[in-house]
């Protein structure tokens, strides 16, 4: 797709930004929120300046989605961590060792509270 991107970036210069939509419209288009009959949809592919902005916003959105995805994964890892097996695997231990440590922790806590 390099060539197509280069084609759209180079072939339609519009330095005066004649007929260009505003930033919010381009963001909405990149986020697939723009109505299908909006004229800006066609304009983006006939104006290299707008296409540059639009492709930049697409990249930003992709990166944000990726970041949100990795955050979700880390949250699910947190859930795993709350189980004994999860604790063991997180500390690179065998399951049995993890459960033993948790038991020992519990014993310490109960001993401390009875003290």
């Amino acid at each position: 797709m390099d060539l197509i991107k280069e084609f759209l970036l180079e072939s339609f210069p519009n330095a005066d930004r004649t007929g260009c939509p505003d930033e919010e419209t381009l963001l909405a288009f990149a986020d697939k929120r723009l109505p299908t009959d909006h004229p800006a949809r066609l304009h983006v592919f006939t104006c290299s300046e707008c296409f540059a902005e639009y492709s930049g916003y697409c990249l930003e959105l992709d990166m944000a989605k990726k970041a949100a995805g990795s955050l979700k994964t880390s949250h699910s890892e947190d859930k795993v961590f709350s189980t004994w097996g999860g604790v063991a695997s997180n500390f690179s231990m065998r399951y049995i060792t993890g459960t033993r440590i948790i038991k020992r922790f519990r014993q310490w806590i109960s001993a401390y509270s009875h003290h």
């Binding site: 060539l3 197509i4 970036l9 180079e10 072939s11 299908t36 066609l42 592919f45 540059a52 697409c58």
Partner: protein
């Protein structure tokens, strides 16, 4: 992509505002991906100069993000164009130029502009719209049909027509001996085969 730290400061070394910094960094990452032939260190240098100039003229800048994208595009495009035109022979195998901004020779830039002119005449607004959607990779055929407000079969046919027009231009370019980077050509053909 390895994240490169940018040193974004004003003329007197004071840090720029977080919003300006975010705008310039986003534009920098976009430029690195959009112009893979240009060394990222050169783009970083441009981004740092742009941040300084935006910081100095911050009252005049309406939208930082918009301004950053527009300026980065102009700066990098001008750089690529001027490098292609100057075509300075640094050493025997021209490796330094190739390393810094790759072989953007004058002949290649002319060939590419011929190909782009052909594409421009062959593709209408709707074709370009379809290409733009294909470029994003996350549009499926149903979504393209919905975007164009046509049914599934018509969308498939429209995509087929775009493919044929692009392929025709490519073939014409090849037979005329137009030099287009092999990687770019392959990726475009891959796109055509994969999507259409």
């Amino acid at each position: 992509m390895k994240k490169q730290m940018l040193h974004l400061v004003g003329k007197n070394g004071e840090p720029v505002s977080p919003s300006l910094s975010a705008a310039v960094e986003a534009a920098y990452h976009w430029a690195v991906l959009s112009f893979p032939r240009v060394d990222s260190a050169i783009v970083a240098n441009m981004a740092e100069r742009l941040a300084t100039s935006m910081h100095e003229n911050r009252e005049m800048v309406e939208s930082e993000r918009r301004y950053a994208y527009r300026s980065m595009k102009r700066l990098v495009s001008d750089f690529v164009r001027s490098k292609g035109e100057s075509e300075i022979q640094i050493d025997h195998d021209n490796s330094l130029v190739r390393f810094a901004c790759v072989t953007t020779s004058f002949q290649e830039s002319i060939d590419r502009s011929i190909l782009f002119q052909q594409l421009e005449t062959k593709l209408n607004d709707r074709d370009r719209h379809i290409l733009g959607m294909l470029w994003r990779h996350d549009y499926n055929l149903a979504e393209i049909a919905n975007e164009l407000q046509i049914d599934y079969v018509a969308a498939k046919k429209a995509m087929q027509r775009v493919r044929e027009r692009v392929a025709k231009c490519m073939e014409a370019a090849k037979t005329k001996g137009v030099h287009v980077r092999a990687r770019a050509l392959a990726s475009t053909q891959d796109m055509a085969e994969k999507w259409i």
